[in-house]
């Protein structure tokens, strides 16, 4: 139970907000500049929230909050998110 899962786990919660699957998009960390597919980020699951961290520097990239049927994302740690191709 300790430890994290991969960014893949975000596909469900984020499907409420994105028309595409954002786990296949590349994301740039605002702290260290590392760019990686979101599916490679480290995801820590909490009840009602997912803390998403950069796999290079551990900084928080985003926080996904589930408030009842609503989903809210704090994208404060992302420089940008870009679809592949």
């Amino acid at each position: 139970m300790a430890g994290h899962v991969d960014g893949n786990a975000l596909a469900g919660p984020l499907s409420e907000l994105f028309a595409f699957d954002p786990t296949t998009a590349s994301a740039r960390c605002a702290s260290c500049g590392d760019t990686a597919v979101l599916a490679r980020a480290m995801v820590y699951e909490k009840p009602h929230s997912f803390i998403v961290r950069c796999s290079a520097c551990d900084a928080v990239l985003m926080v996904v909050l589930q408030k009842g049927d609503a989903t809210e994302i704090d994208l404060g740690g992302l420089a940008w998110l870009r679809t592949l191709g």
Binding site: M1, A2, Y44, K46, P47, I51, R53, V60, L65, D74
Partner: protein
């Protein structure tokens, strides 16, 4: 309209009257983390309280252990619905640590190694309600469980018992910490089920 899954949740309700609502008993000590586990050498460890004028009271590991150490037997309740009854801790009371702190502010922000914060009213830290704990069940507190030392505020949900505690900052009014910004209740009373929002 949600689909009810027959029989789901019946185990969860097998609980006893000494438990807050919605909690179930566990004999394990589950770990719930939101980031990598910080490893802090006790030689580098320090706990501080900062008041409104910027005066900082500091204790290193030896200084903390030179203070009166209390045995604490208490129940703990995690927001993820497990409760553990009759846990045993050793630590220093916040009453002892606040004895010489000069403040009129009534709110605090707990700061941790690793960067987490959580807010707690000062009244919930005093009068024998909170400790800086470094020993669990007769052993040094594991890093996974917040060692070398964590805040222990057992009458609130356990996320308020900040792991890897580093210091308390006095605040003029209540402000949300990391967990509270991320959806957790500002106060966190398990008996009122103040879990989220």
């Amino acid at each position: 309209m949600a689909v009810i899954s027959r029989g789901f949740g019946s185990r969860r309700r097998e609980s006893d009257d000494s438990l807050p609502p919605g909690q179930y008993l566990t004999k394990d000590f589950p770990v719930l983390s939101a980031g990598p586990t910080p490893r802090i050498d006790t030689a580098d460890w320090e706990f501080s309280i900062t008041n409104e004028t910027g005066v900082v009271s500091r204790w290193n590991w030896e200084q903390l252990h030179a203070l009166p150490i209390e045995d604490i037997d208490t129940d703990i309740h995690c927001v993820t619905r497990w409760s553990k009854l009759g846990t045993n801790w050793r630590g220093v009371s916040l009453d002892t640590l606040f004895k010489d702190v000069d403040t009129v502010y009534e709110h605090t922000m707990a700061h941790c190694y690793g960067g987490y914060t959580t807010n707690i009213p000062l009244a919930d830290l005093l009068d024998g309600k909170a400790w800086i704990a470094f020993d669990f069940d007769g052993e040094d507190l594991d890093p996974e469980h917040g060692g070398p030392a964590r805040l222990l505020v057992p009458h609130l949900y356990f996320w308020k018992s900040a792991k890897w505690i580093k210091g308390l900052q006095m605040l003029p009014q209540d402000q949300p910490g990391f967990w509270e910004q991320n959806g957790y209740n500002m106060y966190g009373d398990p008996w009122q089920e103040q879990r989220y929002w």
